[in-house]
Every structure is written in structure tokens, then in C-alpha cells.
């Protein structure tokens, strides 16, 4: 049984721990790795930072006025079809 985690596994466990609880063995191995690896300690904090800021992401896409007019014509033509 491998006792020492690599950083790839440690960072995976950190991502998973956001949503599910780790087993005792996972938690122990992860905490040991983090004690010894400052890079994964940075990742732990940065991963959390990304998670809390992710929810605010927005988008600047818009329809042009012409596209909206086309949509309106399109919907009107369907309504006429339905009414027939």
C-alpha cells in the first residue's frame, strides 16, 4: 500500500474534498503530504479562491437589435401558423 501521495493525487483529493468527505486514510495521507509540500498548500488555497470567485462569472454576449427583430418575426410567424 502506497503511503506517500504524489502532488497529482493530493491535488485531486483537495478538489474532491470540496464536495465529498474523504476516507480516514485519504485524509491522513493528504494532511501528511500538505505538511511537507508547500506547492500543494498553495494549490489548496488557490483552489478555494477559484471556487468562491467562480460563481460571479458573467458574460457580455448580446443579440443585436436586428437579430432580435428577426426573432420577433420568427415567433410571430409561428403564432400565425398555430392560429390557422
Amino acid at each position: 500500500m502506497k503511503l506517500m501521495l504524489g502532488c497529482k493525487e493530493a491535488t485531486l483529493l483537495l478538489v474532491m474534498s470540496e464536495e465529498r468527505s474523504l476516507s480516514n486514510s485519504e485524509r491522513l495521507k493528504l494532511s501528511l503530504h500538505l505538511k511537507m509540500c508547500k506547492f500543494c498548500r498553495f494549490f489548496e488555497k488557490q483552489n478555494k479562491f477559484i471556487s468562491i470567485n467562480a460563481t460571479n462569472i458573467s458574460s457580455s454576449k448580446n443579440f443585436t437589435r436586428a437579430e432580435k427583430d428577426n426573432l420577433i418575426s420568427f415567433l410571430n410567424s409561428i403564432k400565425i401558423e398555430k392560429a390557422k
Binding site: M16, S60, I72, L75
Partner: protein
């Protein structure tokens, strides 16, 4: 009881529906088609609108389903290809699973527990998000923008739980690396 008002749908909701769709499919043309399909579906099914939700929420529900269908229609091979592409992992970690010298995270000069309320930061973040491969992007959106739990996401997209974690892991690694370079300038 809310009575739906199709006359106003386009003017009231087109832009917010488009933003929502574009974030999730990362393609302007497809996003616009999905919005049009949403209106079409809604109009066809007007009789089924019972007014339990607002018409805005009802339109969003239809759009969400169309986005899910869009992803489910993608070929299984396409999905498998994206998941089995080990390049990012191989470029980030060596065979022992350790960071390479040039991929190790740097210290960021920020309060890690704070929300950064700046337009430039958001632009940077969006730029990084736009670089995510397709399935990675939709998993990111479903989890962080829609608040869905892993089993809901797996069910919607038809992916296994272990693939979900791999996708999410790579997504966070990639976003971290991109933000470090483009926002924090490290």
C-alpha cells in the same frame, strides 16, 4: 397565475438567455440557435405552461434542457477523446506525480478567502474559462454557476463519477495556472 406574454419574450429575455447559453456552450452561433429553439419550444407548448413558475424561469428551464441535450448528443468518442487526453496531466506532473520545476504553484498576492469585485479580474477569469475544453467547461458551469452536485452532473451528461472528478481536477488545475499567469502575472 402568470399568463405568458410571448410578445415581450424577445425584448425581455433574449440577452440573458443568450448569456446563459453562451457561457455553457462557448459558441455564439450555437448559443443563439439554442435561444431560438427555446422560444420555439415554449410557443409550441404554451398550453402546458401552468404558471407555477414565472415565465422567465420557465424559459430558462427549457433552455437548460436544450443545453443538456446538446451535450448528450455529442458523440461518445468525442467525450472519450477529451477525457483520455492526458496531455495536460503529463505537462503538469512527472511520472512520480510531482509538479515539474516550471509548473509549481507560486504564492499569490491576495486574500485567498475574498471575492474580487473587479471587472478586469472577471474578464481575466472569463478568458481563462473560455480556454477550457468543451466537457470541462460544461462541468464547470453546472457545478459553479448552477450549483449542481456531482451525481446530478453525471446523470445529466452521462459520465461516470470517476470521469467527473478527473474533469473537475483538470479544470481547477488549468484555471489556476491560467489565472496565475494572466491575472497575477507570475
Amino acid at each position: 397565475m402568470h399568463k405568458p406574454d410571448p410578445e415581450n419574450w424577445v425584448n425581455l429575455y433574449s440577452d440573458i438567455l443568450l448569456k446563459f447559453a453562451y457561457q455553457r456552450v462557448n459558441n455564439e452561433e450555437i448559443a443563439k440557435d439554442l435561444v431560438q429553439d427555446t422560444y420555439f419550444s415554449a410557443l409550441k407548448n404554451l398550453e402546458n405552461f401552468r404558471g407555477e413558475a414565472s415565465e422567465k424561469n420557465w424559459l430558462f428551464l427549457i433552455l437548460k434542457n436544450k443545453i443538456t441535450d446538446h451535450y448528450r448528443k455529442k458523440s461518445v468518442t468525442g467525450l472519450e477523446t477529451e477525457i483520455s487526453n492526458e496531455k495536460f496531466y503529463k505537462d503538469t506532473f512527472d511520472e512520480d506525480g510531482h509538479w515539474y520545476k516550471n509548473t509549481t504553484p507560486e504564492k499569490w498576492n491576495c486574500d485567498y478567502d475574498s471575492v474580487i469585485d473587479s471587472e478586469e479580474f472577471m474578464k481575466s477569469f472569463e478568458l481563462c474559462k473560455d480556454k477550457l475544453p468543451e466537457i470541462h467547461n460544461i462541468v464547470f458551469c453546472l457545478k459553479y454557476l448552477d450549483g449542481e452536485k456531482s451525481d446530478e452532473v453525471c446523470m445529466k451528461l452521462g459520465i461516470s463519477s470517476s470521469n467527473y472528478w478527473i474533469i473537475l481536477h483538470r479544470t481547477k488545475l488549468q484555471l489556476r495556472k491560467c489565472l496565475e499567469k494572466n491575472w497575477f502575472d507570475l
